[in-house]
Symmetry: C2
Subunit: 381 residues, 2 copies
Amino acid sequence: MIAARVMRAMATPVFGHLDPAFIPLLDDVRERLKRLFQAPEGSFMFAMSGTGTSGMEATIANLVRDGTRVLAVVTGYFGEQLVEMCRRYRATVSRVDGEWGRAVDPEAVRVALRTSGTGAIDVVACVHAETSTGVLNPIREIAALAREHDALTLVDVVTSLGRHPVDVKGWALDAVYSCTQKCIGAPSGMSPVAWTPLAHSRRVASRSFYFDITLLEDYWVRRKYHHTLSSTLIYALHEALVALEEEGLENRWERHRRHHLALVRGLEAMGLHLLPPAADRLWTVNAVRVPPGIDEAAIRRRIVDRILDRNWRRPRSPGRQDLAGGPDGIQFDAPLLLLFLSALEHVLRTAGYKCIPGAGVSAASDALASEGEIERAGQPS
Amino acid sequence: MIAARVMRAMATPVFGHLDPAFIPLLDDVRERLKRLFQAPEGSFMFAMSGTGTSGMEATIANLVRDGTRVLAVVTGYFGEQLVEMCRRYRATVSRVDGEWGRAVDPEAVRVALRTSGTGAIDVVACVHAETSTGVLNPIREIAALAREHDALTLVDVVTSLGRHPVDVKGWALDAVYSCTQKCIGAPSGMSPVAWTPLAHSRRVASRSFYFDITLLEDYWVRRKYHHTLSSTLIYALHEALVALEEEGLENRWERHRRHHLALVRGLEAMGLHLLPPAADRLWTVNAVRVPPGIDEAAIRRRIVDRILDRNWRRPRSPGRQDLAGGPDGIQFDAPLLLLFLSALEHVLRTAGYKCIPGAGVSAASDALASEGEIERAGQPS
């Protein structure tokens, strides 16, 4: 769900990527990204023209070359993808493997770094919010260890930036990338990146032209042609960043924490359990264990096809309808949460799962009400 | 100027890139791209998530590796960019340099290929429509020569596809990329690519993960996650392709040829001259020689700031306005052409340039009227 104001921003007439009238907006995006990432002075803030995966490759392409020694912390699919990409750029990759569904133990990272010795690892690569398992990794601790051993950190904040605290300066992160369509609230297509002075001082010559940080800086800072940035996607990103600052970064984190806790309360009341232990959980992705005998893919399909579609996603023919349906995404989380629990209960019980009817919605609703969420949910901001 | 229908399509609710409801639209985009490129059966049609530059790198990343022998035909900035990218992927690049502002002579390509010998060149890389000089290169002839010498062709059709004939099958092209924001009429952000079976049979292992054609095919054909395609940009691309087919591909080519000829008539009536000779000219980019004593950058700035803005581009605060201003881009070419000539005359005369007042607009208007363009221009499609 994208906020209506962000969708409307995309209807702004298309400015050229070097049009003098477009440049102030671009500069404002860079300033807002700097505050969102909490990046140190002198960082190069930009958004890669592509998805989060393009941001991942952009940071790697400028820090990794033949023989660069990377320590990759792997706790899920996206950790594996970091390894894969670093190998393609011919890094020598060593790994710290954590159990999938658990946050990595910083002690394991300490041991790996100590075993290698100070200066023996160039880059520690890690995913902050591992989408594939719903786990939040202790990036602050990992980054502190990396700094002790004179290694840079390359960090994926695709599923955290904007909904979990991320503090590039305070945690001493170096090359950090995200995406627009998860926690920032704009459509997919751009990958915001924080590239600190320290990362810049240790950059390598990029093999890639598209991902070359020097050429990207030529455009974003020095206004020289490199590629044709999509002003349309920048309008959306800008509006999403404005909305985020209007709500307040800390308020947004807190809102997602509350919603996560209410959802967990509801799931538990239905007898369901999350994969990660409570302390390791993301607020943004809730990985639920599938009860015995339940066909998970069929359950998901039924929720999407038969329940959510009817209420929120009509019409089903993109390109044939003028206006976005449904209420404003920003205000929409609490009602959607209850709708989802109701739908999940319905399809699970239809599939033979036993739980107390209404228990999930009721428990989550109580949790939301105790925080004043339900009353607030319907009001305009 | 993007057509209002394309802008509206982007307001369609955001579907997930693997949502079953989204897949038919994606398949339809592939079919339409196949017709637009006139690609042979079995071609992999897709749109790279990024700008035209990303499409350029995607084709190179999958055809060029250490030691690949590339013959690059260079007649302008984008030809140089092809050389630069191929070198970054460690190709051995030889060049055919044409005069900037002229189409390359196929004979020069023949000599270069003959000198190298059959099988000695793996890839002939060339820009069809050289944006930097307004020149159309004879790709058909070049591709025929490449085929004779058993080389693949890698072709940039960024400024031609949709407004000049491009015939991937008929001309025997192999890896061909474009962009969305020039001749297709959607916002920037995607790069349509035609990847033929022959290109596929000679692909190399991609160093890049983001640009890996096998992983891209995993997503576009086999529905496996690779990156989060922007459904918003696909809605826009789809609607632009629908609009293009409604007008008819050949009608659109012809319309742009007519407008180009009318613009040239107007420019010549003002005593101005184009850089390329008539036979080498693009219909899509008209490169005008700057008269002696005229500050070209100042002229452009004044046209944008003081004339076009007032009429067509208000408001100047993106993200603060709900609807795209101005009429539908598809119908807009003829009036804009006259407005442009009027603005150009005004700023040139203010800068001291001598020409007969009204001569440019009048000549272009006559040319448009003789084709029935002016009457048609204001009518809805």
